[in-house]
Amino acid sequence: MSDLNQEMAERYKNNFLKEIEEQAEMGEWVKMCMQCGLCSGSCPTNFHSGWDHPPQEIFMLIRAGKREEVLNSEGMYMCTSCYNCYVRCPRKVPVTHVMHGIAEYAYRIGRAPKAQPTLHLSKTFWSNATKYGRVNEVQLTQSLYFKDGVGAGIKKGLEMKDVALGLVKAGRLNPLEALGMGHKCKDIKGIHAMLAKAEELEARNKAAKGKE
């Protein structure tokens, strides 16, 4: 995949803003930012662990042509889609979507960091949800708990035991999901067909956009 990265870098030379505008979904909004910092301050994850670059700074980096710094950043993967930034942005920039667009683009050209937890969650969630047509919560939880090894998974599972039992008692969690049983959607084949069609359309759109 890294050859796509190379290809894009060469195609846009120093114009990273143009690259983002054309390649990343909602990238055309980057130029509208006026650097007030409301998005960065509004982010609920802001005080949890901190990011290397918050949204407004990522926008500025893009405008300054700092391709490597942006693509190496973890900033855009940190978004939890709470939409605080989007609803508050005085320029009505869809910050949430732009961040996802940049993350998706970085992933597409092979620049997403390995073992990025949010990325891992997204991928896991996607394959889980598309497999059954709805989320299999037990399997999703398992794959997240055990991502760093069996020992860590068991430890985490024991920590959360009470919560899990409570959910089971309340009828909110079906242990049989671990075996692939439990809720499923009725027409799983139909869902798969729809997803395949959507992917085909998106690929076509992206190819067309790249040619502009």
Binding site: G41, N84, V87
Partner: protein, 427 residues
């Protein structure tokens, strides 16, 4: 019945703030007949609710005194207070205007001796002080109020309090039978100078204006700083009456924001810079001000003022739009956000937060004649069709006092152009 002498050579000025007064005075001092209509019981508008003006730090009542003296000396201006225009028909050079007059319950016999105020027991919210205090229901809005006549609040009409006011008056000035009336008058040209209102702060949800007592607006802060305001000029925070010495000013509260006001309100940067002077004036080095801003818009020679404030070690500037306000356990408002100059996160507790609310035209939501054009923010626009109705002051744009007066002076000439044409035609 109130009678007004007005013809097609009369200029009607709607709004008795500094813009309306200026338009009226400039026209009258050029020999024109003017009717000045004001919805409050007194003239002066929002300027007289300011403690000081930037950049001179002088007092708005000083200019008001001169304008009132001009007005008192000029027989060509007829003033209607507690009055609102309710309809306009006709066209340029020949308008017919209906004006609704609310009862004041006090006639011109009033000497402002104050006996009715002493007699009345009911207290009402003090609108002049943005409801930060209480006043008697028979009151003189301020010491500078013109007309210098008391007002009886309609809420006590029909109660024994009203009778007490009447009984206390030795001059037969209290008229409890005063009725609302609608009068009609002619005018050749109309100047629309209805001013502005602060943006509704509660709509900026993340600043918690209606949840946190210690988050107040810039216009309210003016009253707190004014020695004749509800706190006697002490900057006391609303939650516990404690002296607020560490004060945050949040710029663009509503302005430059497509979710709120699209325009830049122009005056608020200078307004907050001015208000840091109040903090310095009251507390010296013990007073600290922090201005959170996107761009400091201290245009033209106001830059001098900005540089002076910047040089004050008790004032700090953070280039950031505060993202949200929370409250700590001591009731201190906490500003949360990111300093964009180099990406520094902050969660700063202050004693008080002042929102630099933007300017919204008062014409918004009020029915004005169809031929008056307004832009998408609601400000009156210059009309290419050249009708006989002209905007003046903050009804036309977000302006500071100085520029509002300029605008009103220009509007006076536009109105004079119309009535002079009428005069030439009638001659």
């Amino acid at each position: 019945m109130t009678s007004i002498v007005a013809t097609n050579q009369t200029i009607l000025v709607v709004g008795g703030g500094i813009s309306g007064m200026t338009a009226a005075l400039e026209a009258a001092e050029t020999g024109k007949q003017v009717v000045l209509v004001e919805k409050n019981p007194y003239l002066g508008g929002r300027t007289v609710q300011l403690y000081r003006y930037f950049p001179k730090m002088c007092h708005p009542t000083c200019g008001l005194e001169i304008n009132l003296r001009r007005l008192k000396a000029n027989p060509r201006i007829q003033v209607l207070t507690l009055a609102e225009v309710t309809g306009i028909t006709g066209s340029k050079g020949a308008y017919s205007v209906s004006v609704k007059l609310k009862p004041r319950y006090v006639n011109t016999n009033c000497t402002a001796c104050g006996e009715c105020g002493k007699a009345v027991q009911t207290e009402i919210a003090d609108a002049f002080n943005y409801n930060l205090g209480k006043i008697k229901a028979a009151y003189l809005p301020s010491s500078m109020a013109y007309p210098q006549r008391y007002v009886i609040d309609p809420s006590i009409i029909g109660t024994p309090d009203a009778e007490r006011a009447k009984a206390a008056c030795k001059y037969d000035a209290v008229n409890l039978d005063d009725q609302e009336e609608v009068i009609s008058l002619n005018a050749g040209a109309i100047v629309w100078a209805t001013g502005w209102q602060p943006y509704d702060a509660s709509k900026i949800v993340y600043y918690g204006y209606d949840r946190f007592a210690n988050v107040i607006s810039n216009v309210e802060f003016e009253r707190l700083a004014d020695p004749h305001g509800p706190t006697g000029g002490r900057i006391l925070r609303p939650s516990d009456g404690k002296e607020a010495k560490n004060i945050a000013f949040i710029q663009c509260a509503g302005s430059r924001d497509e979710n709120h006001l699209r325009h830049c309100s122009r005056f608020c940067c200078m307004g907050s810079l001015k208000q840091t002077h109040y903090v310095q004036e009251k507390y010296g080095d013990a007073g600290k001000s922090t201005i959170y801003y996107i761009d400091i818009r201290a245009i033209d020679r106001f830059e001098d003022f900005y540089q002076k404030v910047k040089a004050n070690p008790n004032v700090s500037f953070v280039k950031s739009k505060v993202a949200r306000i929370t409250e700590d356990k001591d009731g201190n408002p906490v500003c949360n956000g990111v300093d964009t100059e180099g990406y520094v996160r902050y969660a700063n507790a202050h004693d008080l937060v002042v929102l630099a609310l933007g300017m919204e035209p008062s014409v918004k939501g009020v029915e004005i004649p169809a031929e008056v054009m307004s832009d998408s923010s609601g400000f009156i626009m210059a009309d290419p069709a050249n009708a006989g109705i002209f905007g003046a002051g903050c009804a036309t744009n977000a302006l500071d006092v100085n520029r509002a007066v300029q605008s009103a002076t220009a509007a006076a000439l536009r109105a004079i152009q119309v009535v002079n044409k009428v005069a030439r035609a009638e001659a």
